[in-house]
């Protein structure tokens, strides 16, 4: 009996291993027979609904299915995509010319009328008009087709960066959207991208190649698998079960050698601790209301040390919100140098020779090594007498406080995120009294930013933004930390795996 039980158990194991071995690889298949396998942190929570997320992790999936009208790459260039050209025809109107010969995976043809229908659906349909993308495209009033190839967008105010913003508007098949509504599109997404959804499972999506796509893929299939655990993602890559993974942490990079590679790039996001000095129009009782204190905190933190020791030496210390490739970046503004003595002197001038205590609400897990970075900040501030208490919280809790400006702390984690538009004004606005739920206000700076927001002259606008950036450095609304990095892992045999502002070019990927 005991023997038979042992034999049965062994048989289960051996059978499983044998089954697995039978399913194993062999040599590299021809490109068209290959299935690319990608491991991501999570799949889009709204499934195929492209209006609820414009950034990661959703964009890792949507880049396979949908296309936007324009595409803003990591260098900040606005590139033709489903629209081949555009021009500003008045203060509040823009004309976009639609690409010829583009079809959706259900056979629909891309037309100017279809694009206008999708844009108007987003603005008017009750189910999506309050979505993330609709809110980000709040300046769009309406859209209409002028002819078969031209669609005119009308904005409610002057919007000089509408072409940048339209990178957020992913275009689902207009008729499918009209017939099935956003729920229909969410359940059965139809786009112009290189792959079409075959099955949207619980934590895996399988795709087949959409060979008639205007950017037809080289590979024959794609699988995107949700793997929440970073260690499991890395192990899946190392064991060859996936070809590409996102969300690699810096301490995992050393483990990728030989058959696996880590690609580290700057992520066009600046990590910072935002200072809360006002609530609405009223100043709060905080030492941070004094500019000298805020400058002192910027001098007190060793940002180069953070970049070198925690971020592989690839991140960059910063003293402003816009990153190098983002419009408005001011090359004359350098990071505050690490100078604890100067920090102490400034604190003494501000009436805090022995420092003070403060607290900050932070979310960890959003950026590489962010938990360690916050600890490093805490230690550096302690050296100048500032006792920082870190309150770790979930993102929804953070969002609730951020949206309602209901902070109880003197500071909170907030990034200067220019993605995906590569325009800094959204992030810059957050750090001024232009934001409805104001937490920091410098009226002259806000006025200067306000003027830039509606300036249709690109060069003058950039100059205005650079000036605002300098003002925001001199009178800092945040403790500027580092220009963050993004790390993806890939198998050495995978070609064309470029992370361009989180938009993977699945059409170009192929396994050697």
């Amino acid at each position: 009996m005991r023997r038979s039980i042992a034999v049965q158990g062994g048989m289960v194991l051996v059978l499983g291993i044998a089954l697995s071995a039978c399913g194993g690889g062999g040599g590299t298949k021809a490109a068209g027979e290959q299935t690319l396998k990608v491991g991501v942190d999570s799949l889009p929570a709204s499934q195929g609904n492209p209006f609820n997320s414009a950034v990661s992790p959703g964009v890792y999936t949507y880049a396979a299915i949908y296309d936007p009208l324009t595409f803003v790459d990591a260098t900040g260039q606005v590139k033709p995509w489903l629209a081949t050209e555009w021009k500003n025809t008045s203060d509040t109107t823009w004309n976009f010319t639609i690409r010829d010969g583009v079809t959706f995976s259900n056979g629909e043809t891309l037309t100017a009328q279809g694009v206008a229908d999708v844009a108007n659906y987003l603005k008017q349909n009750p189910e999506v008009k309050q979505s993330v993308v609709a809110n980000d495209l709040a300046t769009i009033k309406s859209a209409k087709a002028l002819d078969g190839k031209t669609v005119e967008f009308t904005t409610s105010v002057k919007d000089p960066v509408l072409p940048n913003k339209l990178t957020e508007l992913l275009i689902p098949a207009p008729k499918a959207l009209a017939e099935g509504g956003v729920k229909g599109i969410a359940a059965k997404p139809v786009g112009t991208g290189p792959f079409q959804v075959e099955n949207w499972g619980g934590n895996k999506i399988t795709f087949t190649a959409f060979e008639k796509s205007w950017r037809a893929p080289k590979a024959g299939g794609l699988e995107i698998q949700a793997m929440q655990d970073p260690a499991s993602r890395l192990q899946a890559l190392q064991s060859g079960q996936v070809d590409l993974i996102t969300g690699v942490s810096p301490d995992q990079v050393d483990q990728m050698k030989g058959a696996t590679q880590a690609e580290v790039s700057l992520g066009n996001q600046v990590m910072s601790l935002a200072f809360r000095t006002v609530k609405g129009k009223d100043p709060v009782d905080s030492p941070l209301t004094d500019k000298k204190v805020r400058q002192a905190l910027n001098y007190a933190v060793n940002k180069q040390g953070i970049a070198d020791n925690l971020l592989l030496g690839k991140a960059e210390p910063v003293g402003q919100g816009p990153t190098e490739k983002v419009v408005g970046h001011n090359p004359d503004v350098q990071a505050y140098p690490y100078d604890p003595a100067k920090a102490k002197a400034l604190l003494a001038e501000a009436g805090h020779p022995n420092g003070f205590a403060m607290s900050a609400d932070v979310v960890v897990g959003s950026f590489p090594a962010d938990a360690d970075i916050y600890q490093a900040v805490k230690q550096d501030l302690a050296k100048v007498g500032v006792n920082l208490t870190l309150n770790q919280m979930t993102f929804p809790n953070w969002m609730q406080r951020y949206t309602g400006n209901s902070w109880k702390t003197e500071a909170f984690g907030l990034s200067w995120n220019a993605l995906p538009t590569m325009d800094p004004t959204r992030a810059m606005t957050n750090f001024t009294c232009l934001r409805a739920a104001t937490f920091f206000c410098d009226k002259p700076t806000a006025d200067h930013l306000s003027a830039a927001l509606t300036n249709m002259d690109a060069d003058k606008r950039a100059a205005q933004l650079r000036k605002v950036v300098a003002e925001m450095h001199e009178n800092p609304p945040a403790l500027y930390l580092v220009h963050q990095i993004t790390i993806v892992g890939k198998s050495a045999g995978l070609e064309g795996a470029k992370d361009d502002n989180r938009f993977f070019r699945y059409d170009q990927m192929v396994k050697k």
């Binding site: 009996m1 499983g16 089954l19 491991g39 009750p126 934590n203 698998q225 499991s232 969002m399």
Partner: protein, 335 residues
């Protein structure tokens, strides 16, 4: 005599009125027990749902997540209105309870799909993993525990017992990560993600079983050791039965009665708590769905999932009780 004939309260005949009531028959007892259990289940689901409803409301406001980081307060308010989150809490609760009573948990605020359907779609994967793990657990722990218990003073058994004791403190996710490293990364023999093939279930099931085996082994070995000292065992041995036969025919059946209760509890724990193993192995069960939904404050999904799990745990416990009653006539008589 039939059950119906022996039920004077039902027939209401004058003849029966003066006699003492007879104990109900088997069908009556069964009906009474089922009614009692059903009322317990309803009470449990009501209590769990109520507690969860208010706990979830303390965790945050899903409208802020849905509206996006750069939404204005007006835009957030509009989202709140769209999902009925602007109504007074008491009204939200009343609506929730009324709908839950009809198994309507609403739609996911993220995907727009029916919440209960999403949960039930994920349930088979979780059950599959839980049952496999429990089966594996029994296949290993019962013979292993019987071997240890049969000679509890033996040297090899003492060492094995120590190993089991230490193994009891080993977290399942550590075992999972080690198994992936060995069998998927180093040897390349088994997949470690998803549930696309039969072999994909091996590593997660073994990881879960590795967490269960030490506990069941200890219970079985203790029960076997205790039973080995019973008079009927000595009698059997004196009658010439071999040690092997005595253990298989006389000791194990008695020792397993206590173990059966533990197996039932373990299954209930797995149904509700294999979350970490599901995450590590990207297993598309309830665990990953629950974690995502809690992170996104997707209340309808969390409520539907917890409701389903509570019901399942209750039914598992009930089935265990019933099984114990079948296996052990003494328990039947006690009821």
């Amino acid at each position: 005599m039939t059950d119906t004939a022996s039920a004077p309260a039902v027939t209401g005949t004058p003849v029966a009125a003066g006699r003492p009531a007879r104990p109900p028959g088997r069908a009556g007892r069964l009906a009474r027990m089922l009614a009692s259990r059903l009322s317990q289940l309803v009470l449990l689901l009501f209590a769990v749902s109520t507690l969860l409803f208010f706990l979830l409301r303390l965790t945050g406001d899903p409208a802020t997540t849905l509206a996006g980081q750069d939404a204005t307060p007006d835009q957030v308010e509009a989202v709140r209105e769209q999902y009925g989150l602007d109504a007074p809490l008491a009204k939200q609760y009343a609506t929730f309870i009324l709908r839950a009573a009809q198994l309507d948990f609403g739609t996911s605020v993220q995907s727009g799909a029916n919440a209960l359907t999403e949960v039930l779609d994920r349930l088979p994967a979780t059950l599959q993993l839980a049952l496999l793990a429990v089966l594996l657990n029994m296949l290993v722990a019962i013979p292993f525990g019987a071997w240890i218990g049969s000679r509890s003073d033996g040297r090899a058994q003492s060492i094995a017992s120590g190993v089991v004791f230490v193994g009891q403190g080993m977290p399942g996710y550590v075992i999972g990560l080690v198994l992936i490293q060995v069998f998927a990364v180093q040897l390349g023999l088994l997949p470690s993600i998803g549930n696309a093939s039969a072999s994909a279930a091996i590593l997660p099931a073994v990881s879960l079983a590795a967490f269960l085996v030490p506990r069941l082994t200890r219970v079985v070995s203790a029960n076997v050791a205790e039973t080995m000292d019973e008079d009927f065992v000595r009698t059997a041995r004196a009658a010439g039965a071999s040690r092997h036969t005595v253990i298989l025919r006389h000791v194990l059946p008695n020792a397993l009665l206590g173990a059966a209760a533990l197996v039932g509890t373990q299954l209930a724990i797995l149904v509700s708590g294999a979350l970490i193993i599901e995450v590590i192995f990207a297993w598309p069960g309830l665990g990953a769905l629950m974690i995502n939904s809690v992170q996104q404050l997707d209340f309808p999904i969390v409520q539907a999932a917890v409701f389903t799990i509570a019901g399942l745990v209750f039914l598992t416990n009930m089935a265990t009780d019933a099984l114990l009653g079948i296996l052990d006539p003494r328990l039947r008589r006690q009821r």
